[in-house]
């Protein structure tokens, strides 16, 4: 069977997006409202409730947090949703011969698109409120986000296949992502950590892209070497995930 791969991908993507807020009163408006609400909560908690400062920079803490949180969410949401991409579509996989990666890729694409749109919106709002962001850092930020996306895709493909064999993965991954959240400099700046801890943190390949986004947008020069290294690791991970996917491909239906 020769499915129109591009049309299938588009339909799967549309389905992923439509499913998200189906049946809710506001529907697609949530795509806009949710990031704004999230930002408002951050601004209120860290601006009014317990005023915090992360580092010596000029950014208000809420903005500092937002610049790290959205890139991280780009990865975490895609990984978290991607885990069940194959098991959720078991009915379809058992009936129609379509490249299995489409299901995972469509889900990752939908998740990334939503988070990316949210991030852009948040940046616009921050700018509108007079937060001193650096617009010329946008290319650097985009590079950082692209690396995050590579990790998101690799993680989703790998985890989705694992989940088919071992249904425990989805349960574990939620907690691992919480751990990852704290092991990535999102709430804090790496320079505030004790030197010993900061060194170990560099082993987390997501540190470089997340920091790149933040540094670029707050007007600092990104650490291109670190980002390049991270990209290399991410690319290897993606290749591994693909190889694993190919190897498991012919067995997937037996376990779904």
């Amino acid at each position: 069977m020769v499915p129109a791969t591009r049309a299938v991908f588009r339909e799967l993507l549309r389905r992923e997006l439509e499913e998200r807020y189906r049946g809710s009163l506001l529907g697609a408006a949530w795509l806009v409202l949710l990031p704004l609400l999230q930002l408002a909560v951050l601004a209120w908690v860290f601006g009014q409730l317990m005023p915090a400062r992360a580092h010596a920079g000029t950014l208000p803490y809420a903005a500092f947090l937002a610049l790290g949180l959205w890139p991280w969410n780009l990865f975490a949401n895609a990984a978290n949703r991607g885990v069940t991409a194959l098991t959720d579509n078991a009915a379809l996989i058992g009936k129609v011969a379509v490249p299995h990666t489409l299901y995972v890729d469509a889900r990752v694409a939908a998740s990334v698109a939503v988070d990316l749109a949210g991030f852009v919106l948040v940046l616009a709002v921050l700018l509108a409120f007079g937060v001193g962001l650096a617009p010329w850092g946008l290319p650097g930020a985009a590079a950082g986000l692209a690396v995050v996306a590579v990790y998101a895709l690799a993680a989703a493909r790998l985890l989705a296949v694992l989940q088919v064999f071992l249904r425990d993965i989805a349960a574990v991954i939620g907690q691992l992502l919480v751990l990852g959240f704290f092991l990535t400099p999102i709430l804090y700046d790496r320079s505030l950590l004790p030197a010993a801890a900061a060194k170990w943190l560099a082993l987390n390949p997501l540190v470089a892209p997340v920091e790149t986004v933040r540094r670029a947008l707050s007007g600092d020069a990104p650490d291109w070497v670190a980002l390049g290294l991270s990209l290399a690791v991410g690319a290897v991970l993606l290749l591994l995930a693909n190889a694993f996917f190919r190897r498991a491909r012919s067995h997937l239906e037996d376990f779904l």
Partner: protein, 396 residues
């Protein structure tokens, strides 16, 4: 055009890994990672091979669990064979399950879009075909409702409508004609007939030998994952039926034979006239139906009476079990029932008086014997039966 087969299957085998215990999945994953074959397997299909050329149609028959659906899944490429290979050419449309992959929350229209894309239709082709799909499915405004509100019949309609619009070179269906109302089934059969006549190729799984013989020219009979017979559809289905009957016979202790049913109608005498000929009765006259039934195991049968118009329209029917009337034993496995209709209310015309033999429980019908009755007389009323009636005067 070269005479390459549309489908070519050689030595197909499918073995599923055993996943009974908790650790099985983990060890299976370990096997996959190392590229090894799973250790414990159940074999579903072994050594199946066949070819289907363009314009041919092949039916796959067999009992439940014989591996029919697995075979279709191997052909569509949804499953990967454990051994052997299958090769298909041209577009393949598969209806493996009604509304396969229809998402219950999404509307019919959204699902049609995905389904069409899965069958290889791009957006432009779909836009052109959408009116045709709507017309074929004929579910009206339901098209924009979530599929979870559909009846199973509507899901089939929509699923089949997409396939009908895609018009693949090879169509694979798994027992989908069984659902849907009679009118829609007839529509599908008509479409399939026309599809086959115009050079379409069909791979069909069905338990309905009627459909199988009507639509296909060759057949494969699968038994416990292996080919039991292969070839001309009539030959294969007859052998399959014979095997089914032999099995049924083995299951029921009583030696049954088709030639003589367990309960049969021995004779029907109407108003003293024996034989099979027509009987003339005057309208409003008396009819006595004297029926002798034979029971092979000596258990008393139930008799079912029926009045049928000449054109087959049922008029009235009653059984001895409804009226709790016992059979009169005549000895030697024969039982007699006598049923009398005083003042027959039927209007003049030709009728058939039917007598059927049912088992003791009154559940299964074994034998039927009809006799023609013409009701004579003159009547200016309309219809079949004179209903008791009276006209009311002004003071009533």
């Amino acid at each position: 055009m070269t005479a390459l087969p549309l489908v070519e299957a050689v030595g197909l085998a499918k073995r599923y890994p055993v996943l009974g215990q908790r650790g099985d999945r983990a060890s299976a994953l370990w096997d996959v990672l190392r590229g090894r074959k799973p250790r414990r397997v159940v074999s579903v299909l072994e050594g199946v091979g066949f070819q289907v050329y363009a314009g041919e149609s092949l039916a796959i028959i067999g009992e439940n669990g014989a591996g029919k659906s697995t075979l279709l899944k191997l052909v569509t490429g949804v499953l990967t064979p454990s051994e052997g290979h299958v090769h298909t050419r041209g577009t393949v449309g598969a209806l493996l399950e009604l509304g396969a992959g229809f998402h219950p929350e999404l509307s019919g229209r959204d699902n049609v879009r995905l389904s069409a894309a899965l069958h290889g239709m791009d957006a432009d082709a779909l836009a052109a075909k959408l009116p045709e799909i709507e017309a074929f499915a004929d579910i009206g405004a339901y098209l924009d409702e979530p599929v979870k509100h559909y009846s199973s019949g509507m899901v089939v309609r929509l699923g089949f409508a997409v396939i009908a619009a895609v018009r693949p070179a090879l169509l694979i269906t798994d027992e989908v004609l069984a659902v849907g109302d009679e009118a829609f089934q007839r529509k599908c059969i008509r479409w399939l007939d026309e599809y086959l006549a115009s050079g379409g190729t069909l791979l069909l799984v069905s338990h309905s030998l009627y459909h199988v013989q009507k639509l296909c020219r060759s057949a494969i009979w699968l038994h416990e994952g292996r080919v039991a017979a292969q070839g001309d559809v009539f030959e294969v289905s007859q052998r399959y039926l014979a095997a089914q009957e032999a099995r049924l016979k083995g299951e029921s202790a009583a030696p049954a034979s088709l030639a003589q049913p367990e309960y049969s109608v021995e004779s029907v005498t109407i108003n003293g006239v024996a034989g099979n000929g027509a009987v003339v009765v005057a309208a409003g006259g008396q009819v006595v139906q004297d029926v002798v039934l034979r029971s092979r195991d000596g258990r008393a049968p139930v008799m079912l009476n029926g009045w049928v118009r000449g054109d087959g329209t049922p008029v009235y029917g009653v059984s001895s079990e409804m009226d709790a009337v016992p059979a009169q034993a005549l000895g030697d496995g024969c039982f007699r029932f006598r049923l009398c209709f005083d003042a027959l209310p039927l209007l003049p015309g030709s009728y058939r008086l039917r007598a059927s033999a049912l088992d003791t429980e009154g559940l299964r019908l074994f034998d039927t014997l009809d006799r023609e009755i013409s009701v004579t007389g003159q009547a200016r009323e309309y219809g079949t039966v004179r209903l008791p009636h009276r006209w009311l005067g002004p003071g009533e």
